[in-house]
């Protein structure tokens, strides 16, 4: 569906196949605040992320969208001096309560990074890394997982004959799909993506976007993107962040065509940002 955005004259294809606002809530964020030492990076974020839908986080650089993304699988734990207030409930469990096992959480909430980061190992070992961490040693099982993951990431046909070659020999786009396959191999329920296509050429970007569209049927996806068109194309929900606050959050078609706030409209139409 093509939509004319406001009065900017630009048109965007907006993903609007079905209404997903009735989906169950997968992640419930309440009054989330995040500090890097004395600096407050997030201000009282409240958000409901729906299951089996794509939620895009947009906003100018430094607005806190990546920081927010990394609170969802506690990757901020690795940063010295990072503190958090508020709650993040995934399936009604607060992931910041002390009894939560972070390793299990991160397995459930996978993450794809901005810069493709395959290990300097073979393609097979890259995918098998996660399952091996969690105790899978049977070769046949591993082979099965590797094949399935690569198929889901639409990479199987390109690499099936050279699983033992080094992952760094793949092209940038293939490497990023390998990283997605690596995440799928540990069987997550949620996939976080931090600008997964920002370092890729348009063709590879299109492939990643297609993949996101496919994955959305089975996984809850949260994606940070700088690219307005990308947010419009792939997401069902859009959240606009500015200066560490959540300015607007809603169905993508609403946010892009009929934003409630003036700031959102200015950002989306390119008057600012």
């Amino acid at each position: 569906m093509e939509i004319k955005i406001l009065n900017s004259g630009k048109t965007l294809r907006v993903n609007q196949d079905q209404d997903l606002s009735s989906n169950t809530t997968k992640i419930l964020v309440r009054d989330l605040e995040m500090f890097y030492g004395p600096v407050r990076a997030l201000h009282g974020i409240d958000m409901e992320i729906k299951e089996k839908a794509v939620t895009a986080l947009i906003g100018p650089s430094g607005c806190g969208k990546s920081t927010f993304l990394r609170t969802l699988n506690r990757m901020n734990d690795t940063i010295p001096g990072a503190r958090i207030h508020g709650t993040v409930l995934i399936d009604d469990v607060n992931i910041y309560s002390p009894e939560v096992n972070v390793a299990v959480l991160r397995r459930m909430v996978g993450m794809v990074f901005q810069k493709q980061n395959p290990f300097p190992k073979s393609i097979f070992d890259n995918i098998a890394y996660g399952p091996r961490l969690h105790g899978v040693i049977d070769k046949a099982v591993l082979e099965h997982i590797v094949e399935e993951s690569l198929k889901k990431a639409a990479l199987w046909n390109e690499v099936k004959d050279r699983l033992q070659t080094g992952a760094l020999e793949l092209s940038g786009g293939q490497q990023q799909r390998l990283c997605i396959a690596r995440v799928l191999a540990v069987n997550p329920e949620i996939i976080l993506m931090d600008e997964p296509a920002s370092a890729l050429d348009p063709l590879s970007t299109a492939k990643i976007e297609e993949l996101i569209y496919e994955l959305r049927k089975n996984y809850t996806i949260v994606i940070v993107t700088h690219n307005m068109q990308q947010a419009a194309r792939v997401s069902d929900f859009t959240a606009y962040f500015y200066m560490g606050s959540l300015v607007e959050f809603g169905l993508t078609k609403d946010v892009f065509t009929n934003p409630l706030k003036k700031e959102t409209e200015d950002y989306i139409t390119g008057r600012f940002g």
Binding site: A103, M111, N117, Y129
Partner: protein
Amino acid sequence: MRKEMLGSMEQHRLTKKKEVFSEWFIEKLLLMAGISSTLIIALIFLFLFKEAVQFFKTAGSFDLIGKWVYDDWEERNVFKMMWQSISEVPKYSLIPLFCGSFLVAFPATIIASVLGIGCAIYLSELAPPKVREMLKPTIELLAGIPSVVIGFIMLAFLATFIQDVFHTKFRLNAFVGACGVALAVLPIMITIAEDAMRAVPKELRDASYALGATKWQTIWGTVVPAAVSGISAAVILGFGRALGETMIVLMATGNAALVTGNIFSSVRTMTANIAAELGSVAQGTEHYYALFLVGAVLFTFTFTLNFISEIILNKMRQKLRM
């Protein structure tokens, strides 16, 4: 108008010429400084080998392995692999010196690798910044201890301790020397291994953590494998240093040139052999050239080892550039 401009340009050119010359001069001066170390290595190589080959004027290359000598006790000719430079029939076998050098350098490298790699992992992955800031200068301090002091401690203290513990026949032996040499090569090994591990990009660690790995799983599954070539370069370089170490082995290994595989036996290394004998040898004699030959062999070993580790390090840097 055009002519005027040309004139002024000519003028300009002339003044430029002076600058160009001074810059050329400074550049060449710095170039000399830059290539001086390469030049010096080349000269050392040349000098060593020029002297070393003269050994063969009077002796055969087989003499470097051993010699058939009439033995008064056994009353027959016996094949002797010995370094006996001052003797009725001088013997210049390199075999006992090889035994000595490797019997010290191998154990030293193993001890230093275990300690050094462990320390490097701790420093790069586990140590809180404050502890790291304290440990790094301490390690540099260790590198600053004169080897004669380490040798002294080995000779005076550790040798007795080791004899008490292992009931060794000789108080000064290869193992005592190896302990001292391990201390001497430890700092460089730690530094290179730690550099290699810190060069592993944060993105790789993040990828591992994001897949649900613990800290230890990340270290063993990602950081160490990614840095393995750098770590092996550290080990190879350490081995080269251990082969070249002189003062400690001269003081602590007993200096008996024996053909042996026993780590608790007294040994004489190539380095200690040169240090002990070159001061009292007459120039231009067969003995003199034999010592140069030992030096040339030693230099070839350490040069090759350094060269290999340098290649490995370069390869790793390229690989991790991603």
